[in-house]
Symmetry: C2
Subunit: 364 residues, 2 copies
């Protein structure tokens, strides 16, 4: 994040606003594409981070095989943007969603969903392939690696045919609970081994697992076992303070910041800015991250408290901030911060900044 | 919240979606109007909760004198909706905001801002009145009650004239840190007494304090001292699980819920739904609230963990939930939850539900 360039681009506008350093973002896209190519796995970025048709097209230009979406609205927006190969990584349940899914299947070349229930799989339109979700440690959705998954996939294949079973999928979200590099690597190991070991067991039973899909930014490229076919990191495109704290992304590779203005200076050690929990998300903060973000170029400051449209910024002894000063904050969690903004100000290395819509917010 | 009516109205739509029980909301509007009338204070609701032109008009129909806004976009949307008396309760800093503020002043009958710096006050357009912010315990913006505020207002009046000084304002946001009713009442006492005592000191110096404006939903009507002229509660319109936990609103007076569908059932004591931190805000949870909301009609369930588009719902021993079931969740914090939704489904007592836009999201 080039602080000077970001603040200059933001100068004509009221704050808070979210800015993206285009050069840094492009570096992230290229770097993750190289990681995937180096491991000979396909890259299917999770687009929930950016919810942007423009960023989706850039990821495809960098060699992604297709995109991952979390919601039908995201998938519909990306289909509209010309992305022909989509995975909706969320079980579609209920007639309203299934109708939308069927319509979507008619508009793209290749569509899959991930799920963990044979009954849900049986309700999926025939044109849609299925990835079975394995729980490699997050304990959210999925069956345990090994025998439990083997038994479930056996039932799945009997219900929907081997042709529609694309493979196994997992997300090592528990990597976000890591407090050191050994734990992060451990989560990556569990993610890869959970899929490849189970896939071998299925192959021994005569069930082919064409896809073994893993993915998160903290585990990306950390422990890609032979046999893994696809990775689905999302946050890497913008990076955030959580990734920096986890050690999975460098501070200089954070491309997204929220620019805010100091509006009050009630004490030497406390300044108040005009960005709160409606501009900087408050949901996910990893162990070791102090406050709600990192102030670019002034890491001794702490975004200590969020109200809805105010944040209290503290400093050791004094903040050094004056009313009217602007600061750029790398948010704790990029994905939910982007979701708060109707559009982001894209700041190119040279030339004129431009607004980019966060196209795929909401669910309707 | 009439659970059956809400779920029936939501049935044709994909989840997550946010629903409002119109009858319950109307009850909240009438009840708060009666509290204000009973104490003979003006009601100037904080519209950041709903960000809706339609709800703004209803509040005016219930006798509100005008509205409070947190952002210029909110104030602009409400001006467009015909609200003629607006308070922007946030210091407007920077030329871009001041330009917008000046344009806004030309479109309404009466406009004020709150702030805590004489330099900021001097930059405000002449048509805009000023309320001075007193810090009665939140320790965000403002000067301490008593001598510190008296000295500051003396400087303010010298700078912008007594005519443009409308009065004192405070927000007892520290009421949200209460762990019992005594603490909540204490916050309300501090809020009222901080303003009225300081106003008397100013009057003794010959400075008239026309407005003494307090407000939060947890302190509303709890300790309105004689001399208080105006109250600015916001959350009461919809209510939320924080208010229920604080004891400042009854569960049956919560008008807003997020409807979600069970999409996975990986363990007897764990179900996964399709509403996460992009549908249910994760920012403010008061002491004593277990999880991210209250499941209407099934309070033994806990919305224990939020991912972006998933939540893990747990129950003691077993959840009793099956894939396809829908649940309605009273969110922890209504204001930031509403801000996540492009529109809300308004469910009337009789007749057809309709969508209501959350008009005033964002800042541009």
């Amino acid at each position: 994040m080039n602080r000077e360039r970001a603040l200059e681009a933001a100068a004509p506008f009221i704050t808070p606003l979210a800015v993206v350093d285009e050069e840094v973002m492009e570096g992230n896209l290229a770097r993750m594409a190289a990681v995937a190519a180096g491991h000979r796995v396909a890259l299917r970025p999770h687009a929930k981070t950016h919810k942007s048709a423009e960023v989706a097209r850039r990821q495809m230009a960098h060699g992604a095989v297709g995109l991952t979406a979390a919601t039908l609205v995201e998938a519909e927006v990306f289909a509209e943007a010309g992305i022909a190969d989509l995975l909706v990584a969320h079980p579609p349940v209920g007639t309203a969603k299934l109708r939308r899914l069927e319509a979507l299947a008619g508009r793209v070349k290749r569509l899959a969903v991930s799920l963990d229930d044979v009954g849900v799989a049986e309700s999926i339109p025939p044109a849609v392939e299925v990835l079975w979700e394995v729980d490699t440690g997050l304990h959210r959705i999925g069956t345990a690696p090994g025998a439990q998954t083997v038994a479930a996939v056996r039932r799945l294949v009997a219900a929907i045919s081997a042709a529609r079973f694309r493979g196994l999928i997992t997300h090592a979200g528990h990597a976000y609970a890591s407090t050191d590099q050994a734990q992060r690597r451990q989560a990556a190991e569990e993610e890869s081994a959970g899929l490849t070991d189970t896939a071998e067991m299925l192959r021994a039973e005569g069930i082919e697992v064409r896809e073994r899909s893993v993915g998160s930014t903290p585990t990306a490229g950390l422990a890609l076992h032979p046999g893994i076919t696809e990775m689905r990191p999302g946050t890497y495109v913008y990076g955030d303070a959580n990734q920096v704290t986890l050690g999975s992304q460098r501070l200089e590779d954070c491309a997204l910041a929220v620019v805010a203005t100091v509006v009050s200076n009630p004490a030497a050690d406390r300044a108040v800015i005009d960005a709160g929990s409606k501009a900087l998300s408050a949901d996910l903060r990893v162990s070791g991250l102090d406050g709600y973000g990192i102030v670019v170029g002034n890491e001794r400051l702490c975004v200590a408290r969020l109200s809805e449209e105010h944040a209290v910024v503290t400093g050791p002894g004094r903040t050094g901030l004056a009313i009217g000063d602007r600061i750029a904050i790398i948010p704790a969690h990029a994905c939910t911060t982007v979701n708060l903004h109707p559009s982001l100000l894209i700041v190119p290395r040279e030339g004129t900044p431009r607004w980019q819509a966060v196209d795929a917010r909401g669910w309707r």
